[in-house]
């Protein structure tokens, strides 16, 4: 296979991307376009606030903790690259501008796919929050003087690291799609995890991070602040060129990966699932079908594994304390819900019509789907917490209580939100491809932001309550929050009972 790449391909790829974006935009109603514009404006304003706010907080600069924060900057930059890479790898190279089943009739080139995945990469709250953190930490540490000069290299790193992560994502997907690719990829991950664990256990992680190449970014940042313009300019140009090169070069592994067969998906579709006995109740049978829809889907299996393991591994490496662990269940639950929970009826795909013709109460179907979503969220959070707890020491009773309460509350909150959105805004989505998402990218960005805000607030509330000796405060707070979420869930269930609402949802997810 030729891997040559011409400028013409890049240009046509860019033009095709513009056409695909226009195609997606044409599907939005006026109200949706207004919401998108408002959302974009809000993100822009918050980004400006993240840059300017910390710089103008007042007080003398350099601030008391400037040195500490700047010393962390290289590690934070590296962390951004690692997280962006994991996101790209988990989403099989990157998200699709137009779902595969809709794009199949159009000659969408792999260059267009690559550029599309790149442009969608920032549309998730983890990317946005990390970018804000990088910009905010730098501006807090260095103050208002020559802000543009020291923030520019950070911004270029954010963009360049995203492009580099995309290259990593395509390469991993290419390996995974090859013969024995899944085994090779899993072996590589296991080795990586073992090396990381060894570094943590032997205490060599921090010295290694200190020698990270991202330390050069700190040098450029400081030169910008100190008016060392020649070094600064050289650094900025280097970052700019490296980012542009990553964008261009990424088209090559994208072409390589996308030309290979989707082995994991094909293996799941052609594999046998031996018959089990018919369960003793309708509800158990519904649960079985719903669970199969989750665990036999490549993007869901892959996403849930990453979500369960990654935050736990980060917490393990970072040696987080028990009071901080209360934030993790919410983050994991939000991420897991974004895999399918925000459009949960899409699990039935085109079978939704047939399923709704079966003689079972809508309430039983709703309960089954909610239960499966809840168990997925809880099991993912449990894996994360087990990993995170390994180095967190012995917890106190209030800490354990707060953690359990936080896990339960955040999970039920996310289920309530997911079931509500699933009814309000269903989408016909085929979750067959590892690159598929349960809703259009722009909608997913909105969902992820809302979930992140709610669950982070919940985590912080219980983080505070973990420090109070009397566990009754945590339990009482949890009960109130659970009651509220259950009421919202009940309201969604009543909406689902309405045959007109239900038929609308089913017609949409069935694609007819």
């Amino acid at each position: 296979m030729s891997t040559a790449l011409s400028w013409t391909e890049l240009r046509t790829g860019r033009e095709d991307l513009a056409s695909l974006l226009a195609f997606r935009r044409s599907g939005l109603s006026d109200a949706e376009r207004r919401r998108v514009r408002l959302g974009a404006l809000l993100v822009l304003l918050l980004t400006i606030l993240a840059v300017l706010g910390p710089a103008y907080l007042g007080g003398d600069t350099p601030r008391a903790r400037s040195g500490q924060l700047l010393a962390l900057l290289p590690s934070l930059c590296l962390g951004f690259l690692v997280l962006a890479s994991f996101t790209a790898v988990a989403s099989a190279g990157g998200r699709e501008i137009v779902p595969r089943d809709q794009a199949v009739a159009f000659p969408v080139s792999t260059v267009t796919e690559h550029l599309g995945a790149l442009i969608l990469a920032p549309l998730n709250i983890a990317w946005i929050a990390q970018a804000w953190a990088l910009l905010g930490v730098t501006s807090y540490a260095l103050g208002p003087a020559r802000l543009w000069a020291y923030e520019l290299p950070v911004l270029l790193w954010i963009l360049g690291a995203t492009a580099l992560a995309q290259v990593v994502g395509w390469m991993a997907e290419g390996v995974r799609r090859g013969p024995h690719g899944i085994a090779a990829f899993r072996t590589f991950l296991a080795v990586l995890a073992a090396v990381a664990a060894a570094l943590v256990v032997t205490g060599r992680l921090t010295p290694l991070l200190d020698r990270s190449p991202t330390a050069q970014i700190l040098v450029i940042v400081l030169e910008g602040q100190a008016r060392g313009w020649s070094t600064w300019a050289f650094g900025v140009v280097t970052l700019l060129l490296a980012g542009a090169a990553a964008v261009v070069v990424g088209a090559l592994p994208a072409r390589w990966a996308l030309s290979r067969p989707m082995r994991e998906e094909l293996r799941l579709e052609s594999g046998r699932h031996e018959a089990r006995a018919v369960p003793g109740s309708d509800f158990t049978m519904l649960l079985r079908i719903d669970r199969a829809a989750v665990w036999r889907s490549v993007p869901l299996r892959r996403g849930l594994t990453v979500l369960a393991v990654m935050p736990g591994a980060v917490a393990l490496a970072g040696n987080l304390e028990w009071t901080m662990l209360t934030i993790l269940p919410g983050l994991v639950a939000s991420g897991a819900a974004l895999l399918f929970g925000v459009n949960t009826w899409c699990l039935d795909g085109r079978g939704a019509l047939w399923r709704d013709s079966l003689p079972v109460t809508p309430r039983a179907v709703f309960a089954s789907r909610s239960a499966v979503l809840l168990e997925v969220l809880l099991s993912s959070a449990a894996v994360t917490l087990v990993l995170a707890a390994l180095r967190a020491g012995r917890p106190t009773t209030p800490e354990v209580t707060a953690l359990v309460c936080s896990t339960l509350v955040a999970s039920v909150q996310v289920v309530a939100a997911g079931m509500r959105w699933s009814i309000a805004r269903p989408f016909a989505v085929d979750l067959r491809s590892a690159r598929a998402t349960p809703a259009p990218p722009i909608v997913m960005a909105g969902y992820s932001a809302r979930l992140a805000v709610v669950t982070t607030v919940t985590g912080l509330v219980f983080s505070g309550l973990a420090g109070i000796d009397d566990i009754r405060y945590a339990v009482a707070t949890a009960l109130v929050m659970l009651l509220w979420s259950c009421l919202r869930l009940q309201r969604s269930a009543r909406r689902w009972d309405d045959p007109v609402t239900r038929s609308r949802v089913i017609s949409v997810v069935a694609g007819g």
């Binding site: 579709e269 699932h273 018959a275 829809a293 795909g349 085109r350 079966l358 045959p499 017609s507």
Partner: protein, 284 residues
């Protein structure tokens, strides 16, 4: 042929083409097919005379917001008889079938299946009907056997396994009974949808595009399924664009246009070139 209320005049040209209705149908095309259909229909006529009214739709309207997909359809289907629903895309065929399957509630009108009102007791209607939807109709990551298990469990079927095996074999799906359906071809999916619709031996069999993309052996199995259902005393409704197969499978045909019924014909009136002309005239 009984003409029913039309949404708009048929036009002089079409009325001229319809003028040959009462004349004997010429036997130039598909004589064998037609004679087979007629002889089968004759046999079912006898069952039908003894049969009861399984489906009774009066003044059915279905609106989606400002759009009316069905505009005052009247339809009856009796035990042991098969009725084809014909018409162009958007004529209201699939929506009518979805209402009968209890998937879409009627906006106006009365829809009864075996005397049960779909609006007041949709669960009972779902027990009485077997539905093969038009779009896929299969849960992508469940196997055919799991589909059958779900249906059997929710319909309280007992000792169903042998019949399920037999049906899967007849529709040549035995080898893939434990593979997820997302890997199925379109034709395989259609065949499994027919299996699922008739599996519990419903009183009313609702088949939407059951022949679409199905190979000749699958078509034969589907025709047999329809004949079996009629012989059992079920009412069968088949919505399709394939006129020849509709003629073969059904004794009467209802032609819909713009959400309304424009004609009710004996299926032999739609046979051959003349039948094609008749049908074409009704579509305009």
């Amino acid at each position: 042929m009984r003409q029913t209320a039309t949404p708009r005049p048929l036009g002089e040209r079409n009325l001229r083409r319809l003028g040959g209705f009462s004349a004997p149908v010429r036997h130039s095309v598909k004589a064998d097919t037609r004679s087979a259909a007629v002889s089968q229909n004759d046999r079912v006529d006898e069952v039908g005379q003894q049969g009861q009214r399984r489906v009774d739709i009066q003044g059915l309207w279905v609106r989606f917001g400002a759009v009316a997909a069905v505009r005052g359809i009247d339809l009856t289907a009796e035990a042991g008889r098969a009725t084809a629903l014909l018409g162009r895309n958007g004529a209201g065929k699939s929506t009518t079938m979805r209402v009968l399957a209890g998937v879409i509630p009627p906006t106006e009108g009365v829809v009864e299946v075996d005397g049960v009102d779909v609006r007041t007791d949709p669960l009972a209607v779902k027990r009485l009907t077997g539905y093969c939807p038009d779009v896929g109709g299969l849960v992508p990551r469940a196997t055919p056997w799991e589909h059958l298990q779900l249906s059997a469990r929710l319909r309280r079927l007992e000792d169903w396994e042998d019949r399920a095996h037999d049906l899967l074999e007849r529709f040549e799906l035995g080898d893939v009974a434990h593979r997820v359906t997302s890997g199925f071809s379109h034709g395989m999916g259609r065949r499994l949808s027919v299996v699922l619709a008739r599996f519990h031996q419903p009183s009313v069999l609702l088949l939407v595009e059951p022949f679409d993309g199905v190979d000749p052996l699958g078509v034969e199995a589907t025709l047999e399924a329809i004949a079996d259902a009629r012989a059992r005393g079920a009412a069968v409704l088949v919505s399709t664009h394939l006129r020849d197969l509709a003629v073969q499978a059904c004794e009467t045909a209802l032609v819909l246009r713009g959400g309304s019924t424009v004609a009710r014909l004996r299926s032999h009136e739609l046979v051959g070139e003349e039948g094609a002309g008749v049908y074409r005239a009704l579509l305009d």
